[in-house]
């Protein structure tokens, strides 16, 4: 190795490096960070080596660092002279021969190319690789990389970390050279100050200021320390930086040592990073041999040494005073500051500590100047920060983003949103002591001050994305458990306070918490934050305090209804399916009873959990399937179909009478309390069923001629035959419920009448009012709101769509309108302003509509409806939309362009959303929320008017059948509690049926049986039900597929 003494030797090394980096033959670089190695990069490297050697290929093989895209590991880059560097993804050993052959042909391998790099700015120098390969996207056009800016990671994944020559080739150590030649340390400090570089370890203190403190400190010995004790779970930026580019760290530290007047540098690195330790050891050796460390560095008379110390893994040693204690050989416990390390640090000498990443920013600032640096980032937080984007997001990896970038860019642009279409609800930033930021605050810019303001921290850059499957109470518990076990124990708040918090949170996850525990957590959390000794203690309650603030309803659910919506807290759920079912049907039970051939027991078990099993079996959104663990083996179980089969078997046989009598035996003695239910839709029917069984006298009012609400008047016959609905209502009627139809509350009967005549009133009216879009032409003949259109058809009114129908919207009402129109012989086009994957309609329904001949026009929104002189619709003009930023729903917001196109049609059906008609309750003592729904207590469903309860669409806005029924069930329980002064008599109604508690030894082989529909051409001709349900044999096989997640202990 050449010892660099002057420019000529420096340049000689540089030339040698360039020859390695850009050889006149193909070069293959295998990404060999810990991440790559974990995905098999070593095997790939050996495979390349073997083939190149055995086949005598004229290619250079290198091991490089990591390019940061973890989700696409292992990454391999190939470069053919004169051509761009091409990055290949998910390379397997089996691909190696093909890659070599392709490279020999001058081609990157088809299907493996992730992106290409034509030229690269290493900031200290730039490299031109070459041009070509038009079919491969440039690296900066890949969504994952597009918003990134690589300053810290400028060399990662491109050069060999084991070769100082390659580092020097891309301009490495030239900043150091410049500093030593200029020999003006103050000027360098001024540059760092002017660049507004802030400590990347988390606290964000101005680095230049800190350097100035040390420079001004008077002492015969000064130390500088690099804090590489990266211990946050899920954070690995420092590891990757060191593994991929160790010399950039050394260069930053040597510059720092020179300008601060220190002669010794220490890198405190976790022992759990063996590869980083290994590469750093090697880099230090090489730097020493090359004359970049030790005495007379670069022949400029400066002496500086760096030694590495491996930390034993205590998290708290990342805190600077604890780190110093650890270096001194003492227990790693923080000490009070002042004195600050700049005054009294290691062995009482003035000391400067900076995080790994801070040091990486030094050389670029020196090379390119502070003005260049402040171009990136926000006013107070200049430059970039590396984050580890992990958790429930599609693209995971290390991302370097300008400070001040909004969270949504991280999550939706770089991360490309949730996995499997799940709804993202929060992101936790800053490691275990950071806070959880809810989705509605994703506009928040990521910088030190803003994160602090909203109760989180920048920390070392952890970013954990959480979705609907995460329980926020459990998330808080997890992080508190982590910091609890890593607390040093010195100060009372952190030691005992956090222990109390953890005890309480454990009680929450077991459903044993009390209401007063919320206040206790809040109080102790604040106390820990404000009174702990060190930064770790002061930030440790962040995950708790932020989840309590933004997700309080989840904490309350755990206390008040013993419910964990995400299904994470196992003791609160029977099984994932039961937990996700709004009605909490005991699904494993009816599956088992069906399996055992106990059909009457099965029906009883089903109906007592869900009084409309046949209807919901056809039209439920089946959240149970999204949670079914069978999906991990093959496909989720078809649970709703099994209860449909169970119910229809009774409804269509002479067992109906017997079963009615059997259900009636559950009825509790008459209470002489009278309850009115307003609205005979699924919410009202459910409430009425349970209230009647609880012994109350129940009257249900409805404005339509028949009960059933949306089930009867909005869902088309081919999806849900009216006979099915009638049969289910018949059973409810037989429990003693009286139906008063053709009675509109508000006109014939007033709320005051009900108030006078009943002990309680439950209001369960549906969303029948179309939220009208005001666009020119809605007054024309041939324009229908979807629900009124569907209702008219269901009432056999003489409504006919024309020949060419345009349906506007993407929800279930739009698809129902489309399929109904098709059945009436129309040509149908559905216009939706977003993309197909964003449609809220049940996917199977959309597919069925398409099979029946419906056409779809996506990314278009109506502009105006065009009419003829006769006042009839002639056509519609639509505006093309493009997708803009992500909105609160986690979908991209459609933005109108100026491209207008005209579609001819004679009918327009608008299905753009529904609202409740609340006119009749205004000024009747009810509180109406801003979004037009009724204000009720989340748990008791009490409205602001005494005796009156409300649920379903009235309080949620348009929803679906099972959610609506959930409110009916809850209302029955809460009304009964109040009327009887008891707690949960409803539970007494539930049948106690014995059933098997054995989980199957091995899952059955059988795949899912999905229901089929009649062939499209056949079903589109008729309104008859299109469903072909499962046969009894198929149903049995389906029931046998259950894994019995509800059986917690194996006997």
């Amino acid at each position: 190795m050449i010892r660099i003494q002057d420019f000529s030797t420096f340049n000689a090394v540089r030339e040698a490096g360039l020859a390695k980096l850009l050889p006149p033959k193909p070069r293959i670089g295998v990404g060999m960070g810990t991440c790559g190695a974990g995905n098999g990069a070593e095997g790939i490297y050996h495979a390349f080596n073997e083939i190149i050697t055995n086949q005598g290929r004229d290619m250079k093989l290198a091991s490089v660092g990591c390019f940061g895209f973890c989700a696409e590991e292992p990454l391999v880059n190939v470069r053919i002279p004169g051509r761009p560097l091409v990055i290949l993804r998910r390379v397997q050993v089996a691909d190696v021969q093909r890659i070599i052959d392709d490279v020999a042909q001058g081609q990157p391998t088809e299907g493996l190319a992730l992106c290409k790099v034509e030229s690269w700015d290493h900031l200290t120098a730039s490299v031109q690789y070459g041009e070509g390969f038009p079919n491969i996207p440039n690296w900066f056009d890949v969504p994952f990389f597009k918003p990134q800016k690589k300053i810290v990671l400028r060399n990662c994944g491109l050069i060999s970390p084991d070769d100082i020559e390659e580092y020097i080739a891309i301009g490495g150590y030239s900043a150091l050279y410049k500093v030593l030649i200029d020999s003006n340390p103050e000027a360098v400090i001024e540059q760092i100050k002017a660049a507004k570089l802030r400590g990347r370890g988390g606290a964000g203190f101005l680095t230049g200021l800190k350097w100035e403190f040390l420079r001004k400190a008077v002492s015969d010995k000064k130390y500088i320390i690099c804090n590489a004790d990266e211990g946050d779970p899920g954070a690995y930026m420092n590891r990757n930086e060191i593994e991929s580019d160790p010399h950039a760290l050394l260069e930053g530290m040597i510059i720092g040592g020179y300008v601060m007047g220190a002669s010794e540098g220490i890198i405190y690195v976790r022992a759990e990073y063996p590869l980083a330790v290994h590469r750093l050891t090697r880099a230090i050796e090489q730097a020493r041999e090359s004359g970049l460390l030790g005495d007379n560095i670069l022949g400029r008379g400066f002496n500086f040494n760096i030694q590495m110390v491996e930390g034993a893994g205590a998290f708290v040693c990342g805190e600077e005073t604890a780190l110093i204690a650890s270096l001194e050989g003492q227990a790693g416990r923080p000490r009070p500051r002042p004195p600050f390390p700049a005054a009294k640090g290691l062995y009482q000498h003035p000391t400067n500590i900076n995080n790994v990443e801070t040091w990486y920013n030094v050389a670029p600032i020196v090379a390119k100047g502070p003005a260049w640096f402040t171009e990136t980032g926000s006013t107070k937080s200049a430059g970039t920060k590396v984050f580890s984007l992990v958790g429930k997001v599609t693209n995971t990896g290390l991302v370097e983003m300008p400070l001040g970038t909004p969270l949504k860019t991280f999550i939706y642009d770089v991360g490309e949103g949730g996995t499997n279409g799940k709804h993202i609800k929060s992101v936790q930033t800053g490691g275990p002591s950071g806070g959880c930021i809810p989705q509605d605050m994703f506009d928040t810019p990521v910088d030190y001050e803003t994160l602090q303001q909203i109760g989180s921290i920048m920390g070392s850059g952890g970013m954990v994305v959480l979705d609907e499957d995460n329980c926020m109470v459990d998330v808080a518990r997890y992080f508190i458990e982590f910091t609890h076990s890593e607390s040093c124990g010195k100060c009372i708040p952190f030691r005992v306070g956090l222990d109390q918090c953890l005890r309480i949170l454990n009680a929450f996850t077991r459903g044993r918490a009390k209401e007063s525990d919320l206040d206790k957590l809040d109080e102790i959390g604040r106390m820990i934050r404000e009174t702990s000794l060190c930064g770790l203690g002061q930030s440790a309650p962040n995950p708790l305090l932020t989840t309590m603030r933004h997700f309080r309803h989840e904490f309350e659910d755990h206390i008040r209804v013993n419910r964990c919506r995400a299904g994470v807290c196992e003791e609160l759920a029977l099984s994932p399916c039961e937990n996700s079912c709004p009605l909490h049907m005991n699904i494993p039970r009816f599956l088992d009873l069906y399996k055992a051939g106990r059909m009457d027991d099965a029906f009883e078990a089903v109906i007592m959990d869900n009084p409309l099993p046949s209807s919901t079996g056809r039209v439920c959104q089946h959240p149970c399937e999204d949670r079914c663990r069978r999906a991990m083996i093959d496909e989720p179980l078809n649970m709703r179909e099994v209860h449909r089969v169970i119910a229809d078997a009774v409804y269509k046989s002479d067992r109906f009478e017997t079963m009615v009598e059997r259900i009636k035996t559950h009825k509790l003695p008459a209470t002489e309390r009278k309850v009115a239910v307003v609205g005979a839709g699924p919410t009202g029917l459910t409430a009425a069923f349970y209230l009647a069984l609880l012994g109350h006298e129940v009257t249900v009012f409805d404005s339509n001629p028949e009960p059933g609400g949306m089930l009867r008047y909005a869902l088309p016959e081919y999806r849900l035959p009216r006979d099915v609905v009638r049969k289910e209502i018949e059973l409810i009627r037989r429990m003693g419920v009286e139906f008063v139809c053709n009675t509109e509350i508000g006109s014939e009967t007033t709320l005051n009448d009900l108030d006078a005549a009943y002990n309680a009133v439950f209001m369960a009216i549906g969303t029948w009012k179309e939220s009208w879009v005001y666009l020119p032409g809605t007054e024309l003949s041939g324009v229908y709101p979807a629900l009124l259109f569907l209702e008219a058809i269901a009432k056999d009114e003489p409504v006919r769509p024309g020949k060419k129908v345009i349906v506007i919207g993407g929800g279930n009402a739009a698809i129902d309108s489309a399929r109904t129109s098709l059945r009436m012989g129309a040509d149908v086009t559905v216009v939706y302003r977003r993309e197909r994957k964003d449609m809220p309609a049940i996917k199977e329904e959309t597919d069925a509509a398409e099979a029946e001949g419906a056409k779809f026009l996506f990314l278009a929104t109506p502009h105006r409806i065009v009419g003829g002189e006769d006042g009839k619709v002639k056509g519609i003009e639509v505006v093309n939309t493009r997708l803009g930023e992500f909105d609160a729903s986690g979908r991209r917001r459609p933005i109108s362009t100026d491209e207008i196109r005209r579609l001819d049609c004679d009918t327009v059906i608008l299905a753009v959303g529904e609202a409740v008609d609340l006119d009749f309750v205004r000024a009747s003592g009810f509180t109406i929320k801003e979004n037009g729904t009724l204000q009720v207590d989340r748990y008791t469903l009490e409205t602001s008017r005494s005796k009156f309860y409300a649920g379903g669409d009235l309080v949620t806005g348009a929803s679906n059948v099972s959610n609506a029924m959930f409110f009916g069930k809850r209302a029955a329980r809460r009304i009964d509690d109040r009327l009887m002064g008891t707690n949960n008599r409803l539970i007494r109604l539930l049948p106690q049926v014995e059933y098997s508690q054995e989980a199957p030894e091995t899952p059955t082989e059988c795949h899912r049986h999905s229901v089929e529909e009649l062939p499209a051409q056949e079903r589109v001709e008729t309104f008859a039900e299109s469903l072909i349900g499962l046969t009894p044999e198929q149903t049995l096989e389906e029931a046998c597929r259950c894994l019995r997640c509800d059986v917690k202990e194996h006997h």
């Binding site: 416990r333 124990g489 005890r503 009174t531």
Partner: protein, 236 residues
Amino acid sequence: MPGQISIRIDGEYVTAQVGQTILEVARANGKYIPTLCWLESITPVGACRLCIVEVSGVNRLLPACTTPVQDGMSVTTQSEKLQAYRKIALELLFSERNHICAVCVSNNHCELQGMAQKLGVNSIRYAYSFPKLSVDVSHERYVLDHNRCILCTRCVRVCAQVEGAHVWDVSSRGIHSLVVSDMAKPWGEAVNCTNCGKCVNSCPTGALAEKGFAVEEMVKRDGKVTRLAARRGGQQ
């Protein structure tokens, strides 16, 4: 006078020396700030956090025992928030271990107990942990009862700084922290122990006690230790 500065404590102007802590200045001027881990003339560690005070212009609470005074500083020693936090800290200490005062040798002579009265604690809102802890009776003259220990580390510091024996240290971390003698040997086998009893006399509770005392009989004399410390040159 050189090195003399002015600060305000609870609105009152007082004179202080550069290098003094807020607590030292407050005590010198008759202002009471509660403490448990602090012991005069021994290096403060800022562990119990009872001495937290508000300093205007600083948005954090600062421990009076380790924060040096600065000219023009305005300190508040009593406020609703400080009272509340001090009370929580004390309640947390009571909940952490088994302080069965009624049967403790230090009952009625205990600083923890005394502090409860000063801060108006008369029940503990938090669930007691009831940990299983040992009592070390191996020493011929003294007893170490972990059930009563509040981890103030006065014993550790006094032994190191005044006696120079370095017998005591804290092992483990977090809620599992434990005071140990001679690298976790039974106290009776600790070869470095000089039997001087300074640790016992500086212990604020009944955690370290002399043998042969019954309930309520153990009275500590920490003044002896601090005077000795001062004569030996104070903090080291």
